[in-house]
């Protein structure tokens, strides 16, 4: 295990300031500091962007492009600028904080060079920026809409784009507060639906969303001639479509595969079937409003989602004068919840991966049983099984209750009235380790699993980094990159745990990483128990910031190591009088989404039956993939 907490100076690459200095020295005319209030990083002129990015990656060592997203500055409020801006966060896989660099383009032409030649991880993220913001990326191999469909009217994340049920720019809406009129949005729409059409809609020229068009756009199915394989056998090249309704796609995910016999020659993921506009809604919401929405991103691990978001907003709040950081007990509670969530996530992930391998619903029933136990605890503390909505800025919603009473869950036999600490101690010391051992005993050495999983879905160390894979996918390829160690937050520096790494880069390695991570989580949880005892009585929900409506101007990127990988929130507060409580930009760097970038790479050459298992080994949740 590699200790990731070596200070950057000792590695010999230097700090972020050094890196920025070198970058400015190299490109004196094209790189300038971002000196807007509350902003950090550098602005690079568009025509030198590719060159500078190559320098950042190859010379300065920032090999991991974590996030690439666009912001629309519409020339209002504090930001009197009027342009679109791409924001990139690059990290070193050896650890440390981000080099933030930005490139700007005007709103009408909106063109920037693509960074896909440097980091393939930019692929889907640039397509998303094109889809939702309308920025064209020159040199992108496949610049198409990714979340919406070809032919959709406009680019919805632009600030001047209004949806059909548009009411006001910011919540709370005047109709609801303080006036309090309730109406149904349908009644105000001519069509009685959530639709609006451009005035010049031409029904005779409806978008032909026919499948052939889509396949051709992916470069598939163009050549349907018979091909001769290496044994001289004539085989057919087939296009097989999987999803969005398919039992093994973990939701409404779709894959288009080109097959030579039973071997996959090309695979393109198609998504957006659960694109429910988190970011647009999030920009109308207040900052506080967004916490329950984050629950619904990766709905298996809602506590982890909460954590990333509150960390991002707390960064902004800490710029203000009155901010007090969360108490120690708050941090302990947060880590407790997040680690339990990680166990839930991995149990679920492994269970459904086994489903995909053909162990249909037998192992997963055992895992769900364990999960239920943890959900009982969440329900008793946060009030809800899945959508916990537990964390607040600078605090958490409530302390642990002294006893767990389960009122709503009448079928719940054991947890009807128990001492909380007794329940937790039993769960952490006995139940969870026992169930992890059970998984290990029955599955790890299982012959069929080894035969199916070893060597399948391979991704090399270099590719994993280049494609911005995160979480178990990255660590399964031998990169010891865990944000809890590499860029620590909360109380992780004082906790004793190891980063789970496997070198093989296949499905089996990812499975073992997940198993190991659950054990490490138990190790962390065991260390939390005494901390919970001696911090008893410390306030956890009395922070002024918790329900604060004013957030200082600036940008922040908060990221956590979630079960599925690096979950980041990029938040911009415009902070003007009109909308101090509403984020100007709210972007989610979703690990499920970006981990799909190398899916085609991993699946090419595999058999059809392996593809579903490879998808399962990436462990995606569609709520987060499509947002």
């Amino acid at each position: 295990m590699v200790d990731m907490t070596i200070p950057e100076e000792q590695i010999g690459i230097g700090t972020i300031e050094d890196a920025i200095g070198k970058l400015k020295q190299r490109f004196p005319a094209d790189v300038s500091d971002d000196d807007r209030q509350g902003y950090s990083g550098v602005i690079i002129s568009a025509d030198k962007l590719q060159e500078a990015a190559r320098y950042i990656k190859n010379e300065l060592g920032f090999d991991f492009l974590s996030s690439a997203t666009a912001v629309d500055y519409l020339g209002e409020g504090v930001h009197s600028e009027d342009h679109l801006e791409m924001v990139y966060h690059a990290y070193r896989t050896t650890g440390g904080s981000a080099l933030v660099f930005k490139a700007q383009t005007d709103r009408s032409s909106a063109t920037l060079p693509s960074l896909t030649p440097i980091w393939m991880g930019a692929d889907f993220q640039e397509r998303e920026a094109y889809d939702l913001m309308g920025i064209k990326f020159e040199g992108h191999p496949n610049l198409q809409r990714i979340l919406l469909w070809e032919g959709f009217n406009g680019h919805p994340l632009r600030k001047d784009w209004k949806e059909a049920y548009y009411e006001e720019d910011h919540k709370p809406f005047g109709s609801r507060w303080p006036a309090g009129h309730i109406h149904r949005a349908e009644e105000k729409n001519v069509f009685g639906k959530n639709v609006s059409y451009p005035a010049d809609v031409d029904l005779s020229r409806l978008n032909d969303i026919s499948e052939t068009n889509m396949y051709q756009a992916f470069g598939m199915g163009v050549d349907t001639e018979h091909v001769v394989d290496h044994n001289g056998v004539r085989t057919d090249q087939l296009i097989v479509n999987m999803g969005p309704h398919h039992p093994s796609t973990h939701g409404v995910f779709r894959m288009i595969m080109e097959l030579d016999g039973e071997t996959v020659t090309a695979l393109e993921p198609v998504m957006g079937y659960l694109h429910r506009n988190h970011e647009k809604i999030g920009e109308r919401n207040t900052f506080l409003h967004n916490i329950p929405f984050t629950d619904r991103l990766d709905y298996i691990s809602s506590m982890g989602n909460n954590h990333g978001y509150v960390l991002a907003v707390e960064q902004l709040l800490s710029l203000g004068a009155k901010y007090t950081p969360p108490t120690y007990r708050t941090e302990v509670l947060r880590v407790l919840m997040v680690e339990l969530t990680r166990i839930v996530n991995h149990l679920w992930g492994i269970g459904f991966w086994l489903n995909d391998l053909g162990a249909f619903f037998t192992p997963v029933l055992y895992f769900i049983q364990e999960r239920e136990r943890i959900l009982d605890f969440f329900e008793a503390v946060a009030g809800s099984r899945m959508m916990c909505n537990y964390m607040r800025f600078g605090g958490v919603f409530a302390d642990l209750p002294e006893r767990l009473h389960s009122v709503s869950n009448l079928m719940n036999d054991r947890v009807r009235d128990t001492n909380t600490m007794k329940f937790l101690t039993e769960m952490i010391n006995e139940r969870i380790p026992r169930s992890i051992d059970e998984v290990d005993e029955y599955l790890t050495q299982n012959e069929i699993i080894q035969a199916r999983a070893k060597g399948v879905g391979y991704i090399s160390r270099e590719d994993a980094i280049n494609y911005s894979a995160a979480g178990p996918v990255l660590r399964g390829s031998g990169v010891a990159y865990d944000i809890r160690k590499s860029d620590p937050y909360s109380i992780y520096p004082e906790l004793d745990f190891d980063v789970a790494v496997q070198d093989e880069g296949d499905m089996y390695a990812r499975y073992k990483v997940r198993l190991q991570e659950m054990r490490e989580s138990v190790r962390i949880l065991k260390q939390l128990l005494p901390r919970l005892e001696y911090t008893q009585g410390e306030p956890v929900n009395e922070n002024n910031a918790a329900y604060s409506s004013k957030v200082p101007i600036g940008e922040a990127y908060g990221r956590v190591e979630n079960g599925k990988g690096e979950l980041g929130y990029y938040v911009v507060s415009a902070g003007d009088k009109r909308a101090a409580a509403n984020p100007w930009r709210y972007h989610v760097r979703a690990p499920s989404f970006i981990n799909l970038t190398p899916l085609g790479l991993m699946s090419t050459g595999a058999k059809v039956a392996d593809v579903v298992a490879i998808l399962g080994s990436i462990d995606i949740v569609l709520g987060e993939t499509d947002r």
């Binding site: 979340l147 919406l148 469909w149 032919g151 959709f152 009217n153 406009g154 919805p156 209004k162 949806e163 059909a164 049920y165 009411e167 949005a185 349908e186 009644e187 729409n189 001519v190 069509f191 009685g192 639906k193 959530n194 639709v195 609006s196 059409y197 005035a199 010049d200 809609v201 029904l203 005779s204 020229r205 409806l206 978008n207 032909d208 969303i209 068009n213 969005p244 309704h245 039992p247 939701g251 409404v252 957006g272 079937y273 659960l274 694109h275 429910r276 506009n277 647009k280 809604i281 109308r284 329950p292 929405f293 769900i368 049983q369 239920e372 099984r385 899945m386 869950n409 079928m411 709520g623």
Partner: protein
């Protein structure tokens, strides 16, 4: 589920006590419904967060196989019940309607959770369908975000009660049994926004009104349309011929379903109050009748 003959017995005719566990005299409807309600096969079909609770409902702790529902079929052709578990997006409504059309009758739809029932927290989103009932007939709504497994189970029991109430003698209850399968639901089209073929004429009239710059019917100011690739020649011809005939008929027809459009706020409010009063009266009348 165990067949309780005594419950099934629907006759006045006395059956000797010793035979009551062996013989029942009942109606065909009862037996038919008993069979249907206890072998309701849901489609293995999850959309979003609610699907996770649906899986939890199917797993050992809650276990809806106790109601004869454990056989979740991945294909619509073998399923009786579509549990719409999660947010329905515009992109997804197209396959959903297609799946629904492929289900054999009798078929039921259960809207699970706030999103499927009415859009939920994501209602305002540009890619969200505010409720599956905008496209498909819904039998049972289960509230919650997400509904707990208990709530889903309650909804499923409500559906069983609904089935119990259907009679083979009433053609409206069992259309598949008497008059043959019902018409398929028209599949929505992905245009500049989702297009419900049933509203084609309305959309055209709106566009025409906008083109004439007449704004009796409010049209939202929208962004310029993107250049769309042309339709196939056949479809274009079909669309071009059908509408003209339809438009001629439609000129005289008022938009019934959304007649408030263009009315003043007061008038809308008055209409709402009136509707509500009517509903209260109807309810009172029904209560009086029930007694």
């Amino acid at each position: 589920m165990e067949l309780n003959l005594q419950e099934l017995n629907k006759t006045e005719y006395p059956i000797p006590v010793e035979l009551q566990n062996n013989i029942a005299i009942t109606s065909l409807t009862s037996v038919y419904n008993w069979g249907r309600r206890n072998s309701m096969w849901p489609m293995l079909f999850g959309l979003a967060c609610c699907a996770i609770e649906m899986i939890a409902t199917a797993s050992s702790r809650f276990d809806f196989s106790r109601f004869g529902m454990e056989v979740m079929r991945a294909t619509p052709r073998q399923s009786d019940l579509m549990i719409v578990s999660g947010t329905v997006t515009k992109k997804m409504i197209v396959p959903i309607v297609r799946l629904y059309n492929q289900m054999p009758e009798p078929k039921y739809v259960l809207a699970m959770g706030a999103c499927a029932s009415g859009g939920g927290p994501f209602k305002e989103g540009y890619n969200v369908v505010s409720g599956i009932d905008k496209y498909l007939p819904v039998d049972v709504y289960v509230p919650g975000c997400p509904p707990t497994p208990q709530a889903l189970m309650y909804g499923l029991i409500a559906l069983q009660k609904k089935i119990d109430g259907q009679s083979l003698q009433v053609a409206d209850d069992v259309p598949w049994y008497g008059v043959g399968p019902s018409e398929p639901t028209p599949v929505p089209i992905l245009g500049p926004d989702i297009i419900d073929p049933r509203q084609m004429d309305m959309i055209r009239r709106q566009a025409e009104a906008a083109a004439r710059a007449q704004t009796e019917e409010p049209v939202y100011q929208l962004n310029a349309a993107r250049d769309l690739p042309a339709f196939g020649a056949e479809q274009a011809a079909a669309v071009a011929t059908k509408p003209k005939a339809a438009a001629a008929i439609d000129e005289s027809v008022e938009i019934k379903s959304f007649s408030q459009v263009g009315m003043s706020a007061d008038a809308i409010e008055a209409l709402r109050v009136k509707r509500r009063e009517n509903a209260i009266q109807r309810k009172a009348a029904r209560k009086a009748k029930e007694g």
